[in-house]
Amino acid sequence: MLSGIYGLLSASLFVVLDAVDVAFTEAAVGAGISTILMLTTLAITGRYELSRPSIRTRIGLLLVLVIGVLLIYGTLGMPYFGMPENPANGHVAAYYLENTEQQIGIPNYVTAVLASYRGFDTFGELVVVFTAGVAVLALLPHSRDGFVVDDMQPMKHHLILRITSKLLLPFILLFALYVQFHGDFGPGGGFQAGVIFAAAIILYSMLYGLENAMQVISFPVIRFCAALGVLLYGSVGIVSMLKGGNFLDYSVLLETPVAGQHLGILLIEFGVGLTVAAVMVCVFFTFTGSVVSPAKSARVVAARDGEKTQGAP
């Protein structure tokens, strides 16, 4: 019905377009986590769908074509692709490119803009991620310290996969840490590292079952970490205010502005990584926890059908 190939393709497009940081994120998110979440939902809801009346398709096609032609007509007034003097490349972007070296002192411009110049935006995004995690927890049932684990069978018969993955896991975690702390210099940073870390835990829990994964990293700890990351980010901002700067102005954190920026970026990237990883793992656990076993599902369906046949006459 669908495949995760889409995320792979769009990420390689981003590499060609020079957006290495974005490609990194898209590779981790689009190809990994979102595919896994979709698949889990499919496992819950079933793969089959009804066929639609074709009139609806035709009307939709017509509408889409009209809008598409209008949009293409609209693009005729847009600036050409790849020109340096395009309006998008003026204004603040040029300022960032010029001043990052003296003001922030890290080579990765994307991280500099993300964590320092636009730190407040990123804080907002992080809060959105956190809120989404809370919303998923609120929507799907779970008991206070974990679930009544009604997990599907871990992949017991895939012995080779289990051994291989166990071999790879420490390296994946190490790689996540590398991405986390190397984000100032190369592509990477808190968002990407968080997703990779989460992917490692998801891999473990897919192969060894939810219960085992929860023994490694328990559910209250995950929720605590999710909140802790946001708290860390916010408190860096508060501390910089107490030290006499603006909210999230790291220059005042240490003696020299550049050192302060380094510390600030390190701390908030850590906060971002913590929250993103925790929210992703938490969402996955909640989803997998609500996959009911075939037997139970069959019971539910049987009960429903019984209800129907009773109600019909």
């Binding site: 018969h157 895939h158 080779i160 996969l161 291989t164 071999l167 790879l168 390296f171």
Partner: protein, 126 residues
């Protein structure tokens, strides 16, 4: 000195080109072969071989640096995960009741492992 560099360039060129040729032949195999198991045999074997060749060609070009190390990691990772995932796929397909084409293939559990071995050992012809 320059002679050495030239030789390394030529060698890495040969490796990269032959690697991409194997990739391509794998893709052709993926299209031309009749059923899932033959396709998998084309795809997985050439995947591992092609990736290995291309990456080692790039490694020769990178010289001795962090880039080489990263390439080495990618190569190791692919070498470990590629066969493991194709093994898992073949196993899942076999368990789902799909049978390889052919007249006298007995499907039982020991035969399954032999099946995997033989598909790993034989080189595909493009």
């Amino acid at each position: 000195m320059t002679d050495n560099v030239l030789w390394i360039d030529i060698l890495s060129g040969i490796l990269v080109l032959s690697g991409s040729f194997f990739c391509f032949s794998g893709a052709v195999g993926l299209h031309r072969f009749p059923d899932f198991f033959t396709r998998m045999h084309a795809a997985s074997v050439t995947d591992t071989l092609g990736a290995g060749l291309v990456l080692s060609g790039l490694m020769l070009q990178a010289g001795f640096s962090l880039v080489t190390l990263k390439l080495l990691f990618i190569l190791l990772f692919l070498l470990i995960t590629g066969p493991a995932s194709s093994h898992a796929m073949a196993k899942a397909a076999l368990h789902s009741g799909r049978k390889p084409l052919g007249e006298h293939i007995r499907i039982d559990i020991p035969a399954m492992s032999r099946e995997d071995d033989s598909s790993g050992g034989v080189k595909s012809k493009p």
